[in-house]
Amino acid sequence: MAQTMQLEIFRYRPEQENEPTFQTYEVPFDEEWVVLDAINYIKDEIDGTLSYRWSCRMGVCGSCGMMVNGVPKLSCSAFLRDYYPGTIRVEPLDGFPVERDLVFEMEGFVNKLTSVSPWIVRKEGEKKPLEEGPYKQSPGELSDYKHYSMCINCMLCYAACPVFALDNDFLGPAAIALGQRYNMDSRDQGRDQRQEVIAAHKGIWKCTFVGECSAVCPKDVDPAGAIQRAKVSSTADYFLELLMPWNKSR
């Protein structure tokens, strides 16, 4: 008989139950399969009512993040063989309110991303006319922020963050890293504007540096590093303002 594997999947159907349950499915075991393949098999062959998000199947789109045995993972990158012959427990990403089965609410996350003004901001009067061409940047200046720009918005970092789980209003790792991505960009002048959100009470100062956001990041963005560096520069701002209150140009 062909080898099989069991998946315990978090089910929540608000129209028929008030509390979530776990449902166990048996799927064929294939060395090449990832957790997402197994879930697609369940949806196609066993139970069409299972709801979940996915798209590219190759670690690019960031849609298929799930808790796999308690750890936030892209389900398209978590191989069954790494868990065989045990049971795999699949849950929606931790910390987020669950809408249905493995689908969770991401509206709060999207609002946080836009709140950090994730675009190049130029000061009034310092915008270059289009005919003068692009703002130039050296490879060194690019490397200052390039790794922060690799984020695919998969939200694994939020699921790994106990601070976010305990307080959903925390701006969170990806949004702060995105803000830093523009703050560190030599073409940008919008740091003061972003500080209103990033250095606010619900921003960087909520972070206790657990560091798991960076550990689970599939793209090595290192949001924990971004947050700590933002803390250092905000602290420097504070002391500069204290020592030189007349100096308003940061």
Partner: protein, 126 residues
């Protein structure tokens, strides 16, 4: 109607990295507490040789030795866990390339060893 999963008070026992984070946070109590203890010894020293000798005498009890060993372990863990994350915070750029992470953490360890050697030299007079 979306469902909010409850967070048990034992969330930090669920995964090892969270447990080690809590140990790191709690170790600061041991480090802070020991600083107060050193202040207490300095205060005793200010009272004269006899009160100081009595306070030092208490330190030789087995309970005190066990507490010191636990305190030492927590202080070492506190120090190394923070030194190991320094490369995330301090980026030193020479030209286009940042200094490699082990150099940043290594510089902290080197400074720690040097400072310890100075302290040992002052106390032990070697």
């Amino acid at each position: 109607m979306s469902y909010r999963r409850p967070i048990p008070a034992t969330w930090w026992l669920k995964r090892r990295p969270y447990t080690m984070f809590m140990v790191r946070e709690l170790s600061s109590l041991a480090v802070g507490g020991y600083s107060f203890f050193l202040l207490y010894l300095a205060w005793k020293l200010g009272q004269g040789p006899e009160p100081y000798a009595a306070a030092i005498g208490v330190l030789t009890s087995p309970v005190s030795i066990v507490l010191h060993l636990v305190g030492l372990a927590l202080a070492l863990y506190h120090t190394t866990s923070w030194f190991n994350v320094t490369p995330k915070i301090i980026i030193v750029r020479l030209g286009d390339e940042p200094l490699p992470e082990p150099v940043i953490a290594g510089a902290h360890y080197a400074a720690w060893i040097a400072a310890s050697a100075v302290v040992a030299w002052i106390i032990l007079g070697i």
